[in-house]
């Protein structure tokens, strides 16, 4: 005969309670998601502003996975098209790669309650714009004169302070394209860029990875670099002597977009995440210091360091066709490596 001890009974009771609790935990899990986020400033800003707003508005918990745009695509690609997170945040180049590789769920902008606050064309069948980036020339006003434009960077008095970075990032790629245009080149012909770079290469104090550029600027190794307004504001807030110069041909701009990863099991939470990201309070908080994002919400004014009054001004900025750039980029990267090598 089997006897029931007190311990067995307690165990059975706890097991039953645990089983009863399972549906509750599953419901909790449905209110959570994982989002990729750029490391550094973006990670800091979205954790501080977006995560609490999402929790308050929708009861959704978000876990962030800090990854650069190209790393997000590489990870999804390595996982045979199924990203280990629910939402991508991407620049235009990786966005086009993601579309080509079919890494995104179809996107229905009608599911965004804040859709009307986005300018026309900022949401489509693959995702929604959540921020913009304005790219130009950053310089140290205590060390060098303000460069008038991209062409100035090839002059020895500027070149000896210039930090170069290659085609590995969106801002690097579009800056080099604009530099090419300033010396007679184009997206179809980058030869003039390489010819001019070869002439100044011995003067240039650093050719570095994009992530190393702010550190090199801060340490005085370089006094001029091409970058976005966001980096300039961030460095300025940390006491670095830095100013943003809009080139005479105009600053270049591009949008940062969010996309729902193919196969995501948290589609509803992902829509709520993107919707909260473009909501007025979140965009206003992200546009304010110390984050200084360029907002895409038409109700929010960009900060003082951003050379525009509203997101509508972005139409007058220089933009690029990434469907044309992406196929050429591997060749440019390879060429840049070879041209820079000592």
């Amino acid at each position: 005969m089997t006897t029931l001890s007190r311990r067995t009974l307690m165990g059975a009771a706890l097991g039953t309670l645990g089983a009863a609790g399972l549906p509750f935990r599953a419901a909790q899990a449905a209110g959570s998601m994982t989002a990729a986020v750029y490391p550094g400033g973006w990670d800091e800003a979205l954790r501080a502003v977006l995560a609490p707003a999402l929790k308050q508005a929708h009861g959704v918990d978000v876990a962030f996975e800090p990854l650069f745009a190209v790393d997000q695509i590489a990870k999804a690609r390595a996982a045979r098209g199924v990203a280990p997170f629910d939402v991508f945040v991407l620049d235009p180049g990786p966005r086009v790669s993601g579309m080509d590789l079919k890494l995104f769920e179809p996107f229905d902008p009608a599911r965004l309650s804040n859709r009307a606050r986005l300018p026309a064309g900022y949401s489509d069948e693959v995702g929604a714009g959540v921020a913009a980036q304005v790219v130009g020339i950053a310089y140290n006003p205590k060390k060098v004169a303000r460069p008038a434009g991209w062409r100035d960077l090839f002059k020895p008095e500027f070149a000896k302070h210039l930090g170069l970075t290659g085609f590995g990032t969106t801002f690097g790629t579009i800056s080099l394209i604009e530099m090419a245009k300033s010396v007679g080149g184009s997206e179809a012909d980058m030869e003039p860029l390489f010819t001019e770079l070869r002439k100044i290469l011995s003067l240039v104090p650093a050719v570095a990875q994009p992530a190393a550029m702010p550190g090199l600027f801060q340490q005085g190794q370089i006094d001029i670099m091409y970058t976005n307004t966001y980096t300039v504001t961030l460095l300025k807030s940390r006491g670095v002597d830095i100013e943003f110069a809009v080139p005479e041909t105009g600053a270049a701009a591009f949008g940062t977009t969010m996309h729902i990863a193919k196969g995501s099991r948290n589609i509803d939470a992902a829509y709520q995440y993107i919707d909260t990201m473009i909501s007025t309070p979140v965009q206003a908080a992200l546009a304010a210091p110390p984050y200084s994002f360029v907002p895409v919400n038409t109700e929010v004014k960009p900060g003082a360091d951003v050379p525009m009054k509203s997101i509508d001004d972005l139409r007058s900025f220089v933009t690029h066709d990434w469907t044309k750039i992406n196929p050429q980029r591997p060749r440019w990267i390879d060429r840049f490596n070879r041209e820079m090598a000592k």
Partner: protein, 276 residues
């Protein structure tokens, strides 16, 4: 368990190695011989690109040279320090050991960025030299091979110093006394007694420093910069930015093969010296 069945003890590790090291390595090799990462069809294009391209071959040579020069630089500093440790009192020994271990307690990223502060145009070295009047204008240290070797020497020093100290500590002091009593000079004692007995530790240190310095992706990219082409950076770029996985795989295998060849050569050298 009988002696015959003892091999079963190694089974868990062997299975883990097969699943998590050997299988991915075979996949890497297969990718290097394919047209894309889906292993759709066979191609030798990636290998032709690595072995037939002067730029890639130069990157292989640069990587091997960086490893070799870093080994020599760490040896130059580590050997006197290890000998000092051998003859020092307990207090100084503890200090040397602490100095050797201290860098390991800091992240390699932090150590690498600290070297930017030291080597930069307005860094510690240039500021000191400028203030003493030794130089009129900042000298380029950052983004140069000698700057990178300098940083790697500090970063990799524990890998050389610790095996060397361990090997020297195993030498019976009576042997040194005997050598001296038999009339051998200090130099002869070092050459004939200390060096042969310290050789296993020396070679272990050389292998560790070589492997670590030639694959030091962060230090190479941050301190070395874009003008010095090394294999780890090219592997990363092809895999993560260009998405040319067959070329990335071929470059990664080339890096692994090069480092393994040098490690095998060092090991063979050690065996020959032991039998000599």
């Amino acid at each position: 368990m009988t002696e015959q069945g003892a091999w079963r003890l190694a089974l868990p590790l062997a299975l883990a190695q097969a699943a998590f090291f050997l299988a991915p390595l075979l996949l890497l090799a297969a990718t290097s011989f394919a047209t894309d990462e889906n292993l759709g069809s066979l191609s030798l294009a990636a290998w032709a690109d690595v072995l037939g391209d002067a730029f890639h071959l130069q990157a292989v040579l640069n990587t091997l040279r960086l490893g070799a020069v870093t080994v020599l630089a760490t040896l130059l500093l580590a050997v006197p320090l290890a000998l000092l440790h051998l003859v020092a009192g307990p207090g100084l020994r503890r200090l040397i050991l602490l100095a050797a271990i201290l860098p390991l307690l800091t992240s390699v990223v932090v150590r690498t960025f600290a070297w930017i502060v030291i080597l930069g145009r307005e860094g510690v070295i240039n500021s000191a030299l400028l203030s003493t009047g030794a130089i009129a204008a900042p000298i380029p240290l950052l983004q140069t091979e000698h700057g990178l070797v300098l940083a790697l020497t500090q970063i990799e020093m524990p890998l050389m110093l610790l095996p060397l100290i361990a090997a020297l500590r195993r030498i019976d002091p009576a042997l040194l006394d005997a050598s001296s009593a038999l009339g051998a000079s200090l130099a002869r004692t070092l050459r004939k007694v200390v060096l042969p007995m310290a050789l296993p530790g020396l070679l272990a240190g050389c292998t560790l420093v070589f492997a670590s310095a030639s694959t030091a992706f962060i230090s190479q990219s941050v301190i070395g910069g874009g003008r010095l082409a090394y294999l780890p950076m090219l592997v990363w770029q092809q895999a993560m930015v260009v998405f040319n996985w067959p070329l990335a795989a071929a470059l990664a295998l080339t890096l692994m093969g090069s480092v393994l060849t040098v490690a095998a050569a060092l090991s063979m050298l050690g065996r020959r010296a032991a039998h000599a």
